[in-house]
């Protein structure tokens, strides 16, 4: 009975998460971006449901990559990593011990981030192809200069994101650890059920702000979208994904939006995602609120270059450190 109950909990949560995550990009674009920009916007199902569905039936075009199979496999690996992230958040999986801990979550998020680096470095799109004239002709400017691809540039940026950009979200994860004194999700949830949500403490409020900025950076959303800037690297690591592989990219992003919101609900509200728990509705509300807030922020800001990105990340990281200090006080 217990096993059946747990299975229903895990599978049911995954199914609901999947359905909600399909609608999140549509909600973001239709109800927030379009309303702010005084336009009709796309149908709510268009970005999250219909676009991936359409891409599934498109002809697959082989990418211009040194390792095309690996390149094409990366979005699927990303999707699996995000799925695992959600699975370990579900209380029924807390028996996994160290796998259901903040350290494991950080590890899986790092894998997700590293994927962008691989994607970028394995892609060589036609957009950066050199022309025989005038690039290499006699009299051309700097004819011997080695050429680089816009995707390689995005891989370099992904590296910087791993090294620096993702500080806020990892610091925010440790706010809960500092408050509860445990890295295990089960302890963090149990602590909040006894003492109330961490969100309603000074450390929690600061941590939530830092987590939200980290959430936007991890999702490469404006203004922090340094990986896929239309002005230079365009789609960046995703540039050459076509057909079902692009579909996986869309599905992963929607799912990551839901998973990160669930992570916030777990760490800052003490509500782990479980369909059999009535408070799962709060997880859904958080999952809806986060993309909405993100859409409002992105609609009112230009895209950042390093000049704005580094100081912002540094300031938010300092705020995160203050949150941890406040947790100890």
């Amino acid at each position: 009975m217990n096993i059946t109950y747990s299975l229903i909990g895990v599978i049911g949560t995954l199914v609901v998460a999947f359905i909600v995550s399909l609608l999140l990009p549509g909600i973001e674009r239709k109800f927030i971006h379009a309303r702010i920009q005084q336009r009709v916007g796309p149908p709510i199902t268009s970005p999250g449901v219909m676009a991936p569905l359409k891409f599934f039936f498109k002809q697959t075009i082989d990418p211009n990559s040194p390792m095309p199979k690996l390149y094409n496999a990366l979005p699927l690996i990303s999707l699996i990593v995000v799925l695992i992230l959600l699975v370990i958040l579900i209380p029924e999986m807390y028996f996994l011990g160290a796998f259901a801990s903040v350290i494991a979550i950080i590890g899986f998020l790092k894998v997700e981030e590293i994927m962008y680096m691989f994607m970028g470095s394995l892609s060589k799109s036609v957009l950066s192809v050199r022309m025989p004239f005038p690039d290499m002709a006699k009299g051309a400017k700097h004819p011997e200069t080695p050429r680089t691809f816009v995707e390689e540039l995005s891989a370099l940026r992904a590296f910087r994101l791993i090294a620096f950009g993702s500080f806020p979200i990892y610091i925010a994860l440790f706010v809960s650890v500092a408050v509860t004194g445990s890295i295990y999700l089960s302890d963090i949830v149990a602590y909040q059920q006894q003492n109330g949500p961490i969100l309603f403490t000074v450390a929690g409020i600061l941590g939530a702000v830092v987590f939200f900025i980290g959430y936007m950076i991890l999702l490469n959303e404006y203004p922090f979208a340094i990986l896929k800037t239309k002005a230079d690297v365009i789609e960046g690591p995703y540039l050459e994904y076509a057909a079902k592989y692009r579909s996986y990219v869309y599905l992963t992003r929607g799912f990551l939006m839901f998973v990160l919101a669930s992570l916030f609900a777990t760490l800052f509200l003490g509500i782990a995602p479980n369909i059999l728990n009535p408070s799962f509705i709060i997880t859904l509300v958080v999952a809806l609120l986060f993309p909405m807030l993100m859409a409002v922020m992105s609609a009112f800001s230009p895209i950042f270059t390093y000049k704005q990105f580094y100081p912002t990340v540094a300031a938010v990281s300092i705020l995160g450190v203050l949150a941890i200090v406040a947790a100890f006080l």
Partner: protein, 375 residues
Amino acid sequence: MDDDKEKQTVIEAEIPMGTVHPAALEPYRVRLFVEDEIVRDAEITVGVNHRGVERIMEGLPVEKANSLTEKICGICSNSHIWNSCLVAEKALDIEVPERAQYIRIIMEEMERLHSHFLYLAHGNEVLGHETFAMRLFYIRETVMDLLGMIGGNRVQYGAPILGGVRPRCELDDKRIQKLKDGMDLMEERLAAFADRFVSDPMVMSRITDVGVISQKDALRLACTGPTLRATGVESDLRTEMKEYDPFEFDVITQDGGDVKAQLLTRVFENLESIKIIRQAIRDLPDGPITNRSWEMKDTPLTKSYIEVPRGTLYHSYALEDGRVRHCVIRTPSMANIGAMQHACIGHHITDAQLSIVQCDPCFTCTDRAIQIIKI
């Protein structure tokens, strides 16, 4: 010595962008030579959309040739046909009725309005601020509708003809009232946008001291139009055009020569254009709008320069048996290409497109009109 200097410039990699790139509205090619994402040198190549309009115009009857010039550019179509008409009118001594001159000015200034709004919207889109871009397109709709109302078409309105303007473009009381209302609405919305724009710290951080073109460089690189005025040079051909004599307006200049100065120059120029249109509506003289009493004759090469939204536009041709000969057209973007390349240098690669866009390029019309000379 020069070789030694060149060797000292460290260029790690080249990033070719285009001829097709999502950030570029038109087909052109940029080669960015970078060192750790900082642009050390840049090269812009145009010519991929060459249609040889000048060659097609050769041998056409002048009226047909004039109509063809309108197809050079979708944004400043009126400027081309107006300047082309001015060449023939100057050559054939055709006197244009005063009322027609006023209507031509109204159309030209409305074109400046919509061109500058498009420029501002595109600039914001490249900045990544889609909301501002959408807002500007929304404000622009008013002028597009007014152009459609007068010319019968929102883009290619073809108002000027030899000796005046088309009968379709006559302004009756109803149209004049709509123009007045439209100007009031646009002025109010533009002022509100400008307030919001300059008070946004994130936007200001992105555009201040980015893509800087100094006054000295702007003059050295022979920049023209608002691109030159944004560096502090008071240069506007409208002050020398007799068609603009009845109107009072200020030549807008900005200091700095950065993206902020370029964008603000266009914002304030739009307010000046609204001022000119209001004066034209207020003082619109009565009378005919076309002078048909002129005779065709052979003429030598005649030149005409006018100030269009992007700068100085040059048209010249001779007439032989009523047909166009030796046609040459030079669009303002041609003069600004040097500045675009220069503006990218020393800035982050993400700002490269912005540095190019700040000069308001219209490469497609440059390509169409450019004359290929065999060496």
